[in-house]
């Protein structure tokens, strides 16, 4: 029997922003696949291209952005979709939750009405049916007194409750894929855990494929099955989450693991990665991490390493643990 095709299949994705005088290549040759019911964490620091990669799945970029490569989502060729078909995909098959729920919801509409609007955009149901559906969604994401909360405006809710509402809205039309752009970064640590558990529970129950963007390796470990570590617009290491965390092969991944606050508790100082991420409009000719890398060799400075598979896939000439 043949294995079913991946629900997300990205080949050689490149995204270039052309706003302003300089071209900025934010994503530079990314390959990714996600299977049904699988959670992929895209891990990286600011400017690594993780959010840009995520947004490419819905072509949610500012006007004038150049997207190249192949993007197939749930059997549809996203690069070839027309305006209408693309809008049907957004929120219908693929929906998204954002980093700042307070900014991602329209401040002058009631939260319930915003969910009803989403449902009626994608499903041929009456207002009252959509309303009933919104109520069930609010119960699913465990918002207390859901009936009255539907009538709240965003400014009347707490951050955690807003993110729950955002999740309810994202799940409103039974999508197959959920895109999460650092959904817990703006929340308190305790609320963060609750939201992660809720996401994981809903993901399992609904068999969702999830792409979860985060800069926090601890968060990735909690939610993800697979992880792809990004640096300067490329994937430098990817594989099963446990393999990557226990046996990192790329020096950058090792650096991220060493830089966790939890590890610094015993010793006096937090171990950080020296230097700063590179300027995306003027990348070095070889490996983008070479200037900050402790294992740098001569080839690293001149040739871009390919992603090679092993126990985890790694793009490095001098990987750790062979």
């Amino acid at each position: 029997m043949q294995t079913p095709p991946a629900i997300i299949d990205i080949r050689n994705l490149a995204v270039t922003f052309r706003g302003g005088s300089r071209k900025v290549r934010a994503v530079n040759g990314v390959d990714l696949t996600v299977d049904r019911g699988e959670v992929l964490a895209l891990l990286g620091e600011s400017g690594s291209g993780k959010s840009v990669t995520l947004r490419s799945l819905l072509r949610l970029h500012p006007k004038g952005t150049l997207i190249e490569g192949e993007i197939k989502v749930a059997g549809q060729d996203v690069m070839r979709l027309g305006r209408r078909a693309l809008a049907d995909l957004r929120g219908g098959t693929v929906s998204m939750i954002f980093q700042e729920p307070r900014l991602a919801l329209d401040p002058v509409y009631r939260v319930g009405d915003q969910i009803v609007e989403t449902i009626r955009r994608h499903m041929p149901v009456s207002r009252s049916e959509a309303r009933a559906r919104a109520l069930r969604l609010f119960e699913d994401v465990r918002i207390p007194s859901p009936e009255s909360r539907l009538g709240n405006y965003p400014h009347e809710m707490s951050g955690g409750m807003l993110q729950r509402s955002m999740i309810a809205m994202a799940l409103a039309c039974d999508p197959a894929i959920l895109l999460a752009d650092e959904p817990t970064t703006a929340l308190d640590a305790t609320v963060q855990i609750q939201i992660l558990l809720l996401l994981r529970e809903l993901q399992t129950r609904r068999g969702l494929a999830v792409v979860f963007v985060t800069h926090d390796i601890g968060v990735a470990a909690q939610v993800a099955d697979k992880v792809a570590v990004m640096y300067a617009g490329r994937i430098v290491e990817s594989g099963h989450i446990a393999d990557v965390i226990h046996n990192p092969r790329h020096p950058y991944t090792q650096g991220l693991l060493d830089a966790r606050v939890e590890l610094a508790q015993g010793s006096s100082r937090l171990r950080t990665i020296e230097g700063a991420p590179p300027d995306l409009s003027a990348l070095p000719p070889g490996c983008a991490f070479a200037p900050r890398c402790g294992r740098v060799a001569e080839t690293c400075r001149t040739v871009v390493p390919e992603l090679h598979s092993g126990s985890t896939s790694v793009a490095c000439f001098e990987p750790l643990r062979g």
Partner: protein, 317 residues
Amino acid sequence: MLAYAFKRLLHVIPVAFGVSIVCFLLLHIAPGDPLAAILPADATAELQAQMRALYGLDRPLVIQYLLWLLRALHGDLGLSIATGRPVTREILGAMVNSFILAGVATLIGFSLGSLLGFLAGLYRGSWIDRLASSIAMLGVSVPHYWLGIVLVIIFSVELNWLPATGGGTDGSGGRALDWSYLRFLVLPALTMSVIPMGIIARTIRSLVAEVLAQDFVQALAAKGLMPRQILRHVIRNAAPTAISVMGLQLGYLLGGSILIETVFSWPGTGFLLNNAIFTRDLPMLQGTILILALFFVIMNVLVDIVQSAIDPRIQRN
């Protein structure tokens, strides 16, 4: 909502009181003797004293104010020194004329301004934006009395299409909904609409651009809304501020424009005020300023109430 409206209306009372004091005092602080305008220069001291007593100008200021306030509350603002007719009736007649002019100017200015502002905001940075912004800039920069005179030269003097001055059917002061009346309105209304058009276009342009830059617009696209549906959200978000700016502009226009009404001899409050100043018609001036000021206060409250009905965040405090 109703409680908020009621609270805002209560706030009018102290403000109105203050306005009345300022109106009253303003003209007593101003130099010059109001009687000088109606009495011959060689009038005897006895006659002057007689007139002073007749208008109550010989009493202490506080008493004068209280008497004036009491009568004003009954709708009596005294007699015009220049014409001898009741001030209240003169002002009301002029206000209707000003309202008509302002109404037409508002219609032109607001619709054109909103349209230009929206297009400029939506297509920011494009040639549409540059064109719309240039028109708006011209609107707020061109002195409108000058524009009025230029329009008169083109359409009245050169082309002879429209009357240069006056109001009402054949200048008789009557009102009707036909061309013989409306043709007097065209030039002053057009002239008057230029400034609010520019201000509103610029306001809406920046509002739309500001709303479009917010995260939730991308979130709306991410849930599959079409551009037309997203536009509805943008309008709803921009509306509260746009309405408050429009309300203030409407207030300015309804108050009448001294310059425009004088250029076109349009018999509104501005024209009335101008004449009252030149004839030192004290009761007329006091009355007109008082009514216009109160009108502004009420206009502001109405704008606040409408704004709170649209934007749920305002009622919170």
